[in-house]
Symmetry: D2
């Protein structure tokens, strides 16, 4: 082993993270992974929780650290994971977020409508595999759940994967919402494999209950915090408006990478028509784009002639976010119409323009991803029981239910008028 490539990274969450593998070291040094240093894990959440400045780079290193622990535990219980498989599953977790752009959600809704970060991840992994002489082939197979040992995939993406274990703990650490802290140590120590499926040993059941409760708490207290939702929707509207103006020929200020995405449509028809060269061009620009471009441009657009764009940008930068209401039922058409009317009057806008200021929407599938398999609890007698049955405590119907919350955003200015 080339010892020059051994490295110890300080991490506020776990202490020290050791990198002991040349290929992994080289991947971490690659500009496409380094780019994650400039993409915050929680987007605009720092507007509510100032500590939430941590990046996707820190997160993937942390998930890699946990993966090493999980491999050691599973091996110690008599299940084979070859060195090759260990390297591959480590690579898979290291690269699992590589397709995330800046403010992922906003970006996908605002300017690259046709692409999800998952699809871009796959394109970038394939690109890296080519650059690294196909040494990532096994990692990609595991990532795509095409490898026969399927529990390896579950370590990367499943109900108890290293991604979640790290992000819940890390997000809770940096936001300062200490109640979200997850006992990742204990959960990992309780992992086992039965019939090629990741399970948790029975005495870990309370830890799992607490993990699910902590996750729920983080959802409502952080990920779907009203003010965070408001800020994200503000950014979506900024990007939509900027793109609208760009497509109309307005030469907006923007760094070239952002400009590329603003001045081109990335809908289904682009994807269907795109040849390899088109995709490559897209990726070349994508890997140049990060949080700094969006924020820097937003500041410039505060002075733009378009009143909508400049108003939205001023609101973002001075943190004068939308007023937001949240409720279980959809907002009535009358209510929305009333708010729109007030906004049109207050800002002298057309109704088309006002739609950037007042809008109702809902968040649905974001809370708990559907279609996931429940967590299996392994009893001493060898039986595996679904957590939904094993736990008499949790209302699993609630946990697995798709929750829809409706929200209405409007400018603060119009309330004082009421």
């Amino acid at each position: 082993m080339n010892t020059n490539k051994r490295k110890i990274v300080n991490d506020p969450v776990y202490g020290f993270i050791s990198i002991n593998n040349d290929l992994i070291f080289d991947l971490i040094e690659h500009p496409w992974v380094q780019r994650l240093r400039r993409i915050r894990q929680l987007g605009l959440t720092n507007l509510v929780y100032p500590g939430a400045m941590h990046t996707r780079f820190q997160h993937v290193l942390g998930a890699y650290f946990l993966m090493n622990q999980a491999i050691e535990v599973i091996r110690s219980k008599g299940h084979e994971i070859t060195d090759e498989e260990a390297e591959a599953v480590n690579i898979a977790i290291l690269l699992h977020d590589i397709g995330h752009g800046p403010f992922s959600h906003a970006l996908e809704f605002g300017i690259i409508e046709g692409f999800t970060h998952e699809s871009i991840s796959e394109l970038l992994m394939a690109g890296l595999n080519a650059q690294f002489n196909n040494r990532l082939t096994l990692a990609i197979a595991i990532f795509q759940d095409k490898y026969h040992k399927r529990f390896l995939h579950q370590l990367v993406s499943g109900q108890l994967d290293m991604d979640r274990l790290d992000y819940l703990r890390r997000d809770s650490f940096f936001t300062g919402v200490s109640e979200g802290v997850v006992g990742s140590d204990r959960i990992i120590k309780m992992l086992n494999v039965v019939d090629d499926k990741l399970v948790v040993e029975a005495k870990g059941i309370y830890s799992i209950e607490k993990f699910l409760i902590a996750r729920r708490l983080m959802y409502w207290q952080v990920y779907l915090h009203k003010t965070v939702l408001s800020a994200e929707n503000l950014l979506i509207n900024i990007l939509k408006r900027a793109k609208e103006l760009s497509l109309q020929g307005d030469k907006l200020f923007a760094p070239p990478a952002l400009e590329y995405f603003l001045f081109k449509k990335f809908d289904r028809s682009f994807i269907n028509a795109a040849d390899e060269k088109d995709l490559n061009t897209m990726l070349q620009h994508f890997v140049r784009l990060d949080d700094t471009d969006i924020i820097s441009a937003t500041k410039v657009w505060m002075e733009h002639d378009d009143k909508i764009l400049s108003t939205l940008c001023q609101k973002m930068i001075s943190r004068q976010l939308y007023k937001i209401e949240l409720q279980n039922q959809p907002f009535s058409a009358e209510r929305i119409a009333e708010m729109i009317e007030k906004t049109e009057k207050h800002f002298s806008l057309s109704s088309k323009e006002a739609s950037f200021m007042v809008f109702a929407d809902s968040i649905t599938s974001n809370i708990y991803e559907t279609g996931e398999h429940n967590i299996g609890i392994l009893y001493n007698n060898g039986k595996v029981v679904d957590i939904a049955e094993a736990s008499d405590m949790l209302n699993m119907q609630v946990l697995t239910k798709v929750v829809t919350k409706h929200f209405l955003c409007y400018p603060k200015e119009i309330i004082s008028k009421i």
Copy 2:
């Protein structure tokens, strides 16, 4: 009190920070303070310690939190601090970093040669005072050490001020260098005032020793870490080169706020000649500038025609920093000349151009600010003794000595040639 303005902020370091004062609430909401959300406390240090993404905004809130504790302790020991003074000293600590630009050090060396962040702080405080109907007058007097109760100034700026207590602890927290953690709780509990001077009660002496050792540790392990120094100097050279090209008329890509500073000289002669309007224009641009502009532009400049600029920017973004050597003596002229020659050959550069790639410099006054008064230790008999005498443990000569370290930076590429 307008209770709508009471607020609790989550902070990973202290838990909860309460804001209970309208004026302070409004100052925190002011765009000039909000701007600090986009300026990292430790600049490029995250290239070595990935957790070091925390901002000056978090730091000033933390220092404000500690100030409230200190006020409570000092009052409990029988020293009067009126409510007005308490508000003022809180404002002073809240605003003490307001003049910091992005990557402060690099900025001051690279493009706004004539201004220190201290001088800009004073200009901005004056500006805020005008906007807030002179309600900051007492705060500014304390900040400038013009108020008769001088211990209040020492809480803002002195050997044991709330600034240092917070940043040592916070920087150590976020870098993960846990040994730098300072027992701010205990030190604050031991504060007292004698003859209008902040002192530490005798039983706090070991805490002070540990504070000084922790500070030293943070200097060598974080603030003056070789790789951080290398990155900072790389950025200085990027900004210098960009400014050089701009002044020659090259229309570099840059957001307007950065453009303003690139295309104008900010030396002594500007300051001497500047009228209020000039200064205002400068400040208007300054408060628009933050980390995102510098990073975003650096990425664009990777493609610039000027080979020096593009090479430096590529190195920064792909984290291929200078190789750096550190030593106690200056580097010999021969050694430097040799490295320059190698660099000229390797990159086919003129010697003027090579100076952006190879250079020797020293860091001197950065380690311990000179001219500071030592810390007084208050014994039970009422006597105050200098820490230098009170501690038989610390080699105070070492601590107070101005240390000069010489360093030599050059591109990694030229070594493999050797």
Copy 3:
């Protein structure tokens, strides 16, 4: 105030605990409170979790610390708590555990059958009140829920009292079961009072859910841990056997305070017949008794002639505890009979004697105290909703249900025979 009596106590959980009140200082110094330094909070739990050596003394100081925080929060929300009431509620929490003897549960089952720790607490509080010139009268009224501001009593004893908030956090801290950690800071910050009832503001609902889950986790992972149950029952049997022998006239080794309780029956008839002098004698001995007496005597009894007593004591000291089985249904008479028979044979015991070695019992009311009022959640519109309704997440039926677990204990030696 007599500043000699101000004191700061270091606490590993909260940092510093300040004592700023003379009466409270004097109560803490009183031998009856100091005695709690020699009574572990979690009895024999340290046999499973070696860190669980913390004492009831630490716990009452911690609960006192939290009470001061709660008082400050409730006052800040506009509810009056006079200085006199604040002192009284602080005293009430400080003294709430004063009637606990060593290994409380074991003691009550083993040798002082007629007394609960609650009844002894009341006797001791009355005693202290006499010694302190009736300055504790208000504290006792609050403790007994006889004071008209009933929310003060709820702070001492209720679903979210400072007792629980401290012990969950402290027990979790010292056992190292970090998942039991409760966000006491946030819960206290969310406390409010409506209609003289303690409630939690709506945005604290997730913290309450997590508090309840953490509490359940601590129950199953710590308080009712199988091995802990086994050790407690072993100690109960040791004490029962020792008392049996003593009442038969066997002069067992014991320090006088323990001797007093071993050689006298403390059943209902004693209580009914007891005059003030009898009770005083009892209390004089009770306040001399602590963990050290029980453990020290147990070691001596390892050599006692009575085979049952010596065997049980040897098992305790060498940590060869009963084998224990836990299940939801009662154990069948046949199963128990079979184990008894085996034990009789293995150790050559009469069936009376074997009952100290093999026995079935159940734990019922220990998990969640019944008859408690649910926690009220205060919404922004002023409505208070029961947590059982407010939380769609928790299965409150499960939480409030009286759970009965049946257990069977027997000596390990007889299994190898099977």
Copy 4:
């Protein structure tokens, strides 16, 4: 491997401690090691720092945990440690404190004058070796520094051994003196071996400085805290007086193990005359003795006829400790005489009796053990430099100097008379 013997122990300091070795598991279960559960690491320190209830059992488990880390680090740097050696060095650290009795210092000064805990450790290790079929022979050789790889001994006993690394961190954790926390992780990561000597790599120098400062802080703030010294000396006098009375034929209450030591002289002449049987008898009683016997007896002696003994015991149990003065020079004969005279008068004592109440003594060799080798710092060029030279910061003269502090103890009652 017998997997029944694998075990995970929760530890509040390190999280989880895994035991993966049968022999080590059996040693931990042995009654002589289990006894350490009943011996507090810091004796009477909990009278000042209530959290300091942790035991020597927790400490040896912790030191064992760190040893496993150190072995892994040293192996990873290319130095061979065979599995046999690893087991042996682990056993050595596990047993290094096995000869400690209750309140070690007090015991050695008070009743077993002829024995040090080191000498008893060696006797007990030999006894265990016999019980375990000589499987501890290598461990004992390492412990006694008779094994040719001497760095293994240094891991057990040296300037940076696992004993110190654990106890500094653990004592600081449980006392709540958070400033004593040592970065054991980083120090262990920096360990290396040069010429069969344990050294620290150069970039760990600041951690070493901090370790030494933290150690000094713990000495002055905890280990030699005035009140702790006072309590220890009170206990020494209690034990001395009890022994004096016992040797005069007074049948003091005591559990048999304590009785044995009270009624026999354990001076040099005993040791010289003792045959193996005598020593065995002594050890049999010694391993029965723990903190509970001393405290339980002290409580009984509060009622003893001997006024000196009962007064001292009452003072201990009610925490009315001696008043203590500390200074750098010896106390003058006049001062001492004056205090003795006052005490004689106040308590109507003979001068012989008064010597239990008033006495001057000094603490000398306790602070830093002399004769230890300094810590070697390993530079990148392979040179090893003494920390005394390598650190320009620490005043090593101070650190290594034998400090003598003189103290004078007397009853509080006599001051109010002055």
